[in-house]
């Protein structure tokens, strides 16, 4: 990370690893799984040089557990996995939500369910990322569509996790993870890095789960004199298990509030030629790349198409989608699943415009041609 910009040819997984290092991540615990293994391999070489720790765990349950432990000790921590491993991590992701432990989980989506298609892309884990762990909980899920985004969204994921004391899930798919592309690495000083707020009060005054206006209590690293109780049980402001309804309700509501009152900060999307679009394609991940190409070709044919690319998948970017729905006659949602985000689009659209879907689950990428064909069909 020198002072000047460096132009590199890099793989998506490597860009995630670089992004993590740039964001200050110094702990990785993981387990080999295609197609995310390169992240672990890359960090196993790089982390020791920076005084960080790489541990290969015995499975994904343990990986997520180690990440939580490291984060509580005060280190920015992450893990990376794919479908089957992501399923195993769910219980501990729930723990991280409940105990408000900042951490980043990268899920490189492959075909499923079960072992599925280890070497083929898919977008089947979008709903799992939202609702995979049990219980009512908010969660932030990002989706990268290019190698530069792998870098920038990993940095962003760490910043969001530190700011809101919550686990962040970064979704990649096999295409983006294994694609090699040019990336311009920004100098370290240009990157905005956010570190968790630590308590300024003396240890005896510290209330670990206090209801602050932001909804995010300061977090003391273990071992610095701030002795407090961390538990997966629903707890009061001091971290002790509670059965009182006047404490349980406010606690769960605070978990939601700390996310919902910051939607403008969390929501990220990009629009491309949507000003006068009659049809807006809403896409994320590798499909957004095909969609962009399809929009360019549609415009060449005189069809008024536009693209809304979602980078924050959850919480769902209601305002951006509503805007797209109001502006155009038709909204098209191409996805490499049987329709997960399109359900959300339909919910938000609420009958304003027509919602069309294009679903593909055969392990291959949705091509620009397929999207273009659908655009032509819908507009004629």
């Amino acid at each position: 990370m020198g002072a000047e910009r460096r132009e590199l040819l890099m793989q998506g997984n490597e860009a995630v690893a670089e992004g993590a290092l740039a964001a200050g991540c110094r702990f990785f615990a993981g387990y080999p799984i295609t197609p995310s293994t390169e992240i672990a391999e890359y960090l196993s070489v790089k982390l020791p040089h920076l005084g960080g720790t790489f541990i290969q765990m015995e499975d994904e349950l343990a990986s997520m557990g180690a990440v939580i432990g490291a984060s509580l000790a005060g280190v920015k921590a992450m893990t990376a996995t794919s479908g089957p491993g992501f399923s195993l991590m769910q219980e501990n992701i729930g723990f991280a939500c409940e105990a408000e432990v900042p951490c980043v989980v990268v899920n490189v989506m492959r075909g499923g369910p079960s072992t599925g298609l280890p070497t083929f892309p898919a977008q089947g884990d979008v709903m799992q990322a939202r609702w995979g762990t049990h219980g009512d909980h908010p969660i932030i899920v990002l989706s990268a569509a290019s190698v530069p985004e792998c870098f920038s969204l990993t940095v962003r994921a760490f910043n969001l996790s530190e700011r809101y004391r919550t686990p962040i899930i970064l979704l990649l798919d096999e295409v983006v993870a294994h694609m090699r592309e040019k990336i311009t690495m920004p100098p370290a000083e240009e990157l905005e890095i956010f570190n968790r707020v630590t308590p300024t009060v003396p240890p005896e005054w510290y209330i670990p789960y206090a209801d602050t206006p932001s909804g995010v209590p300061p977090m003391a690293p273990f071992g610095e004199g701030y002795r407090y109780h961390v538990t997966g049980l629903t707890h009061d402001i001091r971290g002790f298990p509670t059965a009182r309804d006047d404490e349980i309700g406010p606690f769960i509501k605070r978990l939601f509030r700390k996310i919902s009152q910051n939607f403008p900060d969390i929501h990220m999307s990009q629009t491309f030629r949507t000003e006068d679009a009659e049809i807006t394609v809403i896409a994320y991940g590798c499909v957004a790349r095909s969609a962009k190409r399809a929009v360019v070709e549609a415009r060449d044919r005189g069809l008024k198409a536009g693209l809304l690319k979602l980078m924050t998948v959850w919480p769902f970017d209601r305002s951006a989608v509503e805007q797209a729905a109001r502006r155009s006659k038709v909204v098209l949602v191409p996805e490499m699943n049987m329709g997960q985000i399109s359900r959300e689009v339909k919910r938000v659209n609420n009958g304003v415009s027509t919602v069309e879907t294009l679903n593909k689950v055969d392990g291959t990428l949705i091509t620009p041609g397929e999207i273009l064909e659908k655009i032509t069909e819908v507009l004629s």
Partner: protein, 315 residues
Amino acid sequence: MDEYLDRLNIYASRLVSQKEYFVPGHRACQGCAEALALRLVAKTLGRNNIVACATGCMEIVSSPLPLTSWKVPWIHVAFENAAAVASGIESGLKALMRKGRLPRQKINVMAMAGDGGTSDIGLQALSGALERGHNMVYVCFDNEAYMNTGIQRSSSTPFGASTTTSPAGKVVPGQVTWKKNMPEITAAHNIPYVATACSSYPFDLMEKVKKAADIEGPAYVHILSICPTGWRIPPQLAIHAGRMAIETGMFPLYEVERGKYRLNIDLPELRPVEEYLRFQGRFRHLTPELIEKIQQRVREEYEKLKRKVEMTNED
């Protein structure tokens, strides 16, 4: 004829059954001794055998649609639960036989996984199955790393080996922990039979698998499976590497039958470990001091094993 010969404990290449249940055409790498070991195991367990196979090299190479190398019922399960699924199969068969829906007969139930699927992610399921005492054979094909995903270390990777997640450098000499002793862990469950084997000693391997199947209750066979791709050795040296592993004492061949230890190949003098390490790319970076460290450990472990043999056999 086969049935008759099965009852004899004679092993000679001409007397071994010609019938194969793990057949050619699979996609294992050149010189894969794991596929060889699996072939011998499948041959020994015969036709009346149901296999629960965890994710791993042997699952991937043996089942690319529309081909299969399996001539027996075979179930690919998740990474962590071969032992659990095999438990279910065994219990299910037992229930069917008890109710008279299935004629009483000997059906082997075999669970198989690699070293990762056994000593890392599958350990909990294995321990549970051994504790419950299902009548099954669990075979661990130990190629000492996660070869299927591209040579990442496992807890079964030997000290000093360079893998993609334990890369050797100037400061860290590859894997820094010692190989997890899976045979001892399973023996500690007090199961009737535990054995180590290697496909470089085919008759010994087959005899052990046969014993494991014949014994009532859970049996565990740990097979050192040489992986030329992951160990960075020429494919033609796979069998040689297995022999060296045994002759240097890196991987002693022994069995624990109802608590009694027995060394199957008891060498009067071990070869220096260097003879095993030096031709393998994964150990190329080792310094003489590190080799000495490994030598010392091997010697100690071998002595410990010999003491166990003496202790459990005195009357």
